[in-house]
């Protein structure tokens, strides 16, 4: 049994001060910004052109000319990782967008209406959850053909129930509050209350879940590309690079090491960022929520 005491609104300066005192948040933010910067940079500059094959330079070990070495076509691994970051970020970001765009309204409606609507939506959620995510993603891409767009759809579909759940749980905690009662007394309808009062109050929850799903999306995209169902060559992608590296582990281990590290660092950064945001906005929740 806890007594709920509503603390006065925190000031922006206060939140910022807390943010920069939080190690997890800081490290996560720096890594994430760095990855995004690298992806953006790749649009205007990469050390080498990734579309040019230089067979004479194939499977070169890391050197001053090629920091991360070259692949079996003589392409510069560093340049490919930079361009691959675009693909990873784009796929994961759009998949999060699909999940939020469909999942949040569903969850909000379930919480607002309750009863049979709620029950039906949650059973649908259970259904999607019963399918091991990657298995279904493999099925979807196998059916509609491999490619970045289908990978986005496959990953996005499995983000929907996640966001629906978070939005519903968050909204259910908001609905009994006094200010909602006040809004109802003022004659506002369900939709208006949801949009004006519920959604702003669960925005932070969604933001934290968003970073988690973003990280997950990057892992999922890498997994799909690795089995040949994601982005298709010649578009460089981290998962695809690992696939190419697999049969050449003996002669060119760097082909596997660096793209893998790119995935690990990106996912780590996003996870730290998510943990940090959760800590800053609600220290009581720890890693719970």
């Amino acid at each position: 049994m806890t007594l709920r005491v509503d603390l006065p609104e925190e000031t922006l300066a206060g939140v910022l001060a807390k943010a920069f005192g939080n190690r997890s948040f800081l490290i996560g933010l720096i890594i994430t910004l760095l990855v995004v910067a690298v992806a953006l940079l790749s649009f205007v500059w990469t050390p080498y052109d990734v579309s040019r094959l230089v067979i004479a330079d194939k499977t070169q070990p890391p050197s001053w000319a090629h920091w991360f070495g070259t692949d079996h076509f003589g392409r510069d691994i560093l340049s490919m990782i930079m361009v691959g970051a675009r693909n990873s970020i784009a796929v994961a970001l759009v998949a999060v967008g699909i999940g939020m765009g469909i999942g949040v309204p569903l969850g909000a409606v379930a919480a607002a209406r309750g009863g049979i609507v709620d029950e039906a939506l949650m059973r649908l959620n259970d259904l999607v959850f019963a399918f091991p995510a990657l298995l279904s993603a493999i099925m979807i891409t196998a059916i509609f053909g491999p490619g970045a767009v289908n990978a986005i759809i496959a990953i996005g579909i499995f983000n929907i129930p996640v966001f629906a759940r978070v939005a519903r749980a968050g909204a259910l905690a908001i609905w009994p509050r006094e200010f909602i009662l006040a809004a109802r007394a003022a004659g506002k309808g369900m939709t208006q209350i949801t949009v004006e009062h519920v959604l702003p109050n669960i925005a932070t929850l969604l933001l934290v879940q968003g970073t988690i799903q973003f990280a997950l999306g990057i892992l999922a995209e890498a997994g799909l590309s690795y089995v040949g169902l994601g982005a298709q060559p010649p578009m460089p992608s981290w998962g695809r690079m690992l696939f190419d590296a697999q049969t050449r582990m003996v002669i060119a281990p760097w082909m596997a090491i660096f793209p893998g590290m790119a995935i690990v660092i990106t996912v780590l950064g996003l996870n730290l960022l998510g943990d940090g945001i959760a800590d800053i906005l609600d220290p009581k929740s720890r890693r719970r929520r």
């Binding site: 259970d126 091991p132 988690i212 997950l216 997994g223 281990p253 780590l268 996870n271």
Partner: protein, 349 residues
């Protein structure tokens, strides 16, 4: 409690039926005629028509679904288009690779995660805890197929301790067979251990804040005894239930790992079936895995009630959207935390 269990069973059955309809519908809208596929390009339209009739492909949709679903119940999945053997035979051959692999990975993950969780929780906030949880944070971020590649390089290419891939079969001797499952099991287990270690730590920290722990300490029991005998035992309830959940995901997680190590398991079978458009094999394996996930979730739900006697007295009000409506807060939170962490690692399944 009976009402609760009954509701869980009904929901599980309903989910299974819905899932089978989804799988059937997806396979139905797929382009490609299995009869034509079996007969090859040179077959005449008449021949195809005859075979379609034989295979029952011309029957009404509902009848075909009922026939297929009825077959599933008696483990009769039909015949593979490409191998021309009953699908169940293929599955039986492969499951003896995938299932032991998932079990070994589960065991490994537990053996690693529990001590790490205990270590971290008992040193909460100190350097050791920070280090262990940092490692866990890293472990959650590592894609298991990449980890597998690194393991292959280290242990198979460089140290030559274990084979880099392939599976000699159980007839080659248990030790030889186990050796080839060793690396895949580690690759699967370590990221899972990172998740489980985090769950074990927070479950334990929660228990350590309980009054009865303070009582045990107050009456003079050494910290070690309190930690291992009193706290861990109580923290095991959420950890055990989560292990059940993880098992389902390890089963599915073998799909990619089997491809890395060229293991002839269910994962490789489904990939071959996809490239050969052997849809009946694809839908059978998907249904099997989905059924396994639903069954394991049901067992986990049941175990809440069996493991914790406190639950038996509570009337079964089930909160929708969460399978554990009557579970005590402790388990609820642990499951929630697990789901959250698992979501981060979904990509590696």
């Amino acid at each position: 409690m009976t009402a609760y269990l009954l509701k869980r069973i009904i929901i599980a059955a309903l989910t299974l039926v819905l899932a089978s309809i989804v799988v059937f519908a997806v396979m139905e809208i797929l382009p490609g005629d299995p009869a034509r596929l079996m007969l090859g390009l040179n077959a005449s339209a008449d021949q195809v028509e005859v075979l379609r009739n034989q295979m029952g492909l011309n029957a009404p949709l509902v009848l075909r679904y009922l026939h297929w679903a009825g077959g599933l119940l008696s483990l009769d999945f039909g015949r593979s288009y490409t191998y021309s053997v009953p699908v169940i035979d293929l599955v039986r051959e492969r499951v003896v690779v995938s299932l032991p692999l998932a079990l070994i990975a589960l065991a490994l993950s537990t053996i690693i995660a529990i001590p790490v969780g205990v270590f971290s929780a008992s040193r909460q906030g100190r350097a050791g805890d920070t280090l262990a949880m940092g490692a866990a944070q890293l472990g959650v971020a590592v894609p298991n197929f990449w980890f597998a590649l690194i393991l292959i390089y280290l242990f198979a290419v460089w140290l030559r301790l274990v084979p880099a891939g392939g599976f000699p079969g159980w007839s080659a001797g248990i030790w030889t067979a186990l050796k080839s499952l060793f690396l895949p099991a580690i690759a699967l287990a370590l990221p899972q251990a990172a998740i489980l270690g985090r769950v074990a730590r927070s479950a334990l920290i929660e228990v350590l804040n309980e009054d009865y722990i303070r009582t045990a300490r107050a009456k003079g029991l050494p910290y070690r005894t309190v930690l291992w005998r009193h706290a861990l035992r109580n923290a095991m309830i959420p950890v055990l239930t989560i292990l059940g959940l993880q098992f389902a995901f390890l089963l599915a997680g073998t799909i990619i790992i089997e491809n890395v190590f060229y293991l002839p398991g269910l994962g490789r079978l489904i990939f071959q079936a996809i490239t050969q458009r052997d849809l009946i094999v694809v839908e059978s394996i998907v249904m099997l895995l989905v059924a396994a996930v639903i069954l394991i979730n049901l067992i986990v739900d049941f175990s809440y009630a069996i493991v914790d006697p406190r639950l038996r007295a509570i009337p079964g009000k089930v909160r929708s959207g969460f399978p554990s409506g009557i579970a005590p807060k402790q388990i609820l939170r642990a499951v929630q935390r697990f789901r959250e962490t698992r979501n981060r690692s979904r990509g590696r399944q």
